[in-house]
């Protein structure tokens, strides 16, 4: 089977999505270009006495961009990827010599590679800044940067997983509610003096927490000022890596199994 045509299909599908262009626009004009244009100024500042502080601030800004990308833009791509597999248009392809597995794998390879490319831009910018400011690129930093890919991959996979089954607006609302409310809730209810009712809510919020991967640490893992450094004392990088891999596999495999057995009913998709 000629997969080239499937990639071409997903590419054209993405090109006709407003969200896709929004992601590209923000990456280029908000994240990448401002940094690239400031390279001469950075080189100049790196020689000054405040070089160390300015480097940390620039790196923090880069990390914040990665956080924004992971929080807003990766889920947007997740919606495009998920909906591309269940919309009415996909039925036309499924009546040809294509299986759902072909569509699922091609779709996620296409969007996965796109995300990877954007992540790579962030990483290269990060390394460029550390190089300009003569910062030592340690193995620990490289590992943190590698693991940060889960900061964009997990929200992408989580949202695309739900987009296979629901329309975009409920998925976005669920994402925002769970993402924004669950961690503080569980922290609050874990207080030692909590009542039975509070413990019930702890349990409930924990159950929801299982469903949503805790992606924030991955998005801030390479931040010079990040609280994750403190967490690092408790969790080794290896544990973070395993956590990211397991969640990614879980979301991909369960998403595939659901998609494989899903009825494509026009009025529901």
């Amino acid at each position: 089977m000629n997969k080239r045509y499937l990639y071409k299909y997903f590419f054209q599908n993405a090109l006709h999505s407003f969200l896709f262009w929004l992601v590209i626009f923000i990456i280029v004009f908000e994240f990448a270009l401002p940094f690239l244009l400031k390279i001469p100024a950075m080189i100049e500042l790196s020689q000054s006495g405040k070089g160390k502080l300015i480097e940390r601030m620039i790196l923090e800004q880069l990390n914040l961009n990665l956080y924004i990308f992971g929080f807003f833009l990766a889920p947007a791509l997740g919606i495009i990827a998920g909906r591309a597999l269940v919309n009415r248009e996909i039925e036309v392809l499924l009546t040809h010599r294509l299986s759902r597995k072909d569509l699922f794998i091609s779709g996620f390879i296409f969007y996965g590679l796109f995300l990877f490319a954007i992540w790579l831009i962030f990483i290269l910018l990060y390394l460029l800044v550390t190089y300009i400011f003569d910062h030592k690129i340690t193995l620990d930093l490289v590992l943190k940067l590698i693991i940060s890919i889960f900061g964009i991959m997990l929200p992408f996979l989580w949202v695309s997983f739900f987009s296979l089954n629901a329309k975009p607006i409920p998925v976005i609302l669920l994402y925002l509610v769970v993402y924004l409310s669950v961690p503080p809730l569980s922290e609050y209810f874990e207080h030692p003096n909590s009542s039975g009712l509070e413990k019930f809510f702890v349990g409930a919020s924990k159950v929801i927490s299982i469903v949503i991967p805790q992606t924030q640490p991955f998005q801030l893992i390479a931040s010079p000022f990040s609280a994750v450094d403190k967490m690092g004392a408790q969790y080794t990088l290896f544990k973070w890596f395993v956590y990211g891999i397991l969640w990614s596999l879980f979301l991909l495999v369960s998403g595939f199994l659901i998609y494989q057995k899903k009825d494509l009913i026009p009025h529901q998709t």
């Binding site: 089977m1 000629n2 045509y5 499937l6 071409k8 299909y9 054209q12 599908n13 090109l15 006709h16 009415r88 248009e89 039925e91 036309v92 392809l93 499924l94 009546t95 040809h96 010599r97 294509l98 299986s99 072909d102 057995k261 009825d263 494509l264 009913i265 026009p266």
Partner: protein, 313 residues
């Protein structure tokens, strides 16, 4: 095969769309799939192409599971609601379909040339699909179905939205494909179009097959005959009581339409006694539409009587 559509999380609110459908389709058959709206025809066809799953039972196409992709390059499908990707041109969509079905570029182009002629596609293929009218979309759906020269052709309301010329072209194309021993399964509400083309009928109502068989057997009326006779000076009065008589003065032939076997035998006897020559006696044919309505009305009557007897008991 059984199919329930779940309308809510409560199983009791599920809708039974197909109720124990058991069906064999053999190569070379041209089948009309008939039934009133909501009978389950489209559900059946969507299961066949792996778009939805049966709740229980299995469907095999060319010996493989219907979800398997291995047979799909041997089949073509025109869905009831064709909704192709709007961002492609008609040509691009047909190319994707042909190439994933394993056609080389050259074969694709030659098939396309043939389809342009057969379905009157010339002026629409280079347009973006978002610019297509409903009729143009239907033409594209048909082209997508035929582009890889399938052995099994499944058409769900193929003439919907087509103009008279395109309808005629499709009819001619289907006749041509029928001559090539293709297996064709058509669901349509325009029964006159199916009557000439199909050799088998499957009638579905409320998810169940209520009748199936060869069209020539099903459309033969019970006991009704047409008797052609000539060589008479006047038509005997006793013959007129047996049915309607039409006279063709050009051919000097009269046609008697009898309703029962008994009337036919009586008529033959009267004609023989009066030395009138009988040219042909043939069973009277119903139209597909008459047959369809008759079966459905009979079903309604059965339901009504069952209700009445239930109430009386």
């Amino acid at each position: 095969m059984v199919k329930y559509y779940r309308t809510a999380r409560i199983p009791s609110r599920s809708i039974l769309a197909l109720d124990h459908i058991d069906l064999d389709i053999f190569p070379g058959e041209i089948i009309a799939l008939l039934g009133p709206n909501g009978a389950g025809k489209t559900t059946f066809l969507r299961i066949l192409f792996g778009l939805i799953y049966p709740t229980s039972g299995e469907v095999k196409v060319f010996g493989s599971d219907c979800q398997d992709k291995s047979w799909k390059n041997r089949a073509g499908y025109v869905p009831e609601h064709y909704d192709p990707p709007k961002f492609l041109t008609g040509y691009e969509l047909l190319e994707i379909g042909a190439r994933v079905n394993g056609l080389s570029k050259n074969v694709f182009l030659s098939r396309l040339e043939w389809l342009e002629e057969s379905l009157n596609l010339k002026e629409i293929l280079n347009l973006n699909i978002s610019q297509y009218s409903r009729g143009m979309l239907q033409q594209l759906a048909l082209a997508g179905c035929f582009i890889h020269n399938p052995e099994l052709i499944v058409l769900d309301e193929p003439t919907a939205n087509l103009d008279a010329l395109s309808r005629k072209k499709l009819q001619e194309l289907l006749y041509q494909l029928a001559q090539e021993d293709k297996t064709i399964l058509i669901s349509s509400h325009i029964l006159s179009e199916l009557e000439e083309l199909c050799n088998k009928v499957i009638l579905i109502d409320k998810g169940k097959i209520i009748q199936q068989g060869y069209i020539k057997d099903l459309l033969t009326s019970d006991g009704g005959y047409t008797i052609c006779f000539k060589g008479f000076t006047s038509i005997p009065q006793s013959l007129k009581a047996l049915g309607d008589i039409n006279y063709d003065p050009k051919l000097e032939i009269a046609y008697l339409e009898t309703r029962t076997e008994y009337e036919k035998d009586r008529a033959v006897k009267i004609l023989t006694e009066n030395n009138i020559s009988i040219e042909v006696i043939e069973p009277k044919q119903k139209t597909l539409e008459e047959y369809f309505l008759e079966v459905l009305e009979q079903k309604e009557l059965e339901k009504y009587f069952l209700k009445i007897t239930g109430e009386n008991e």
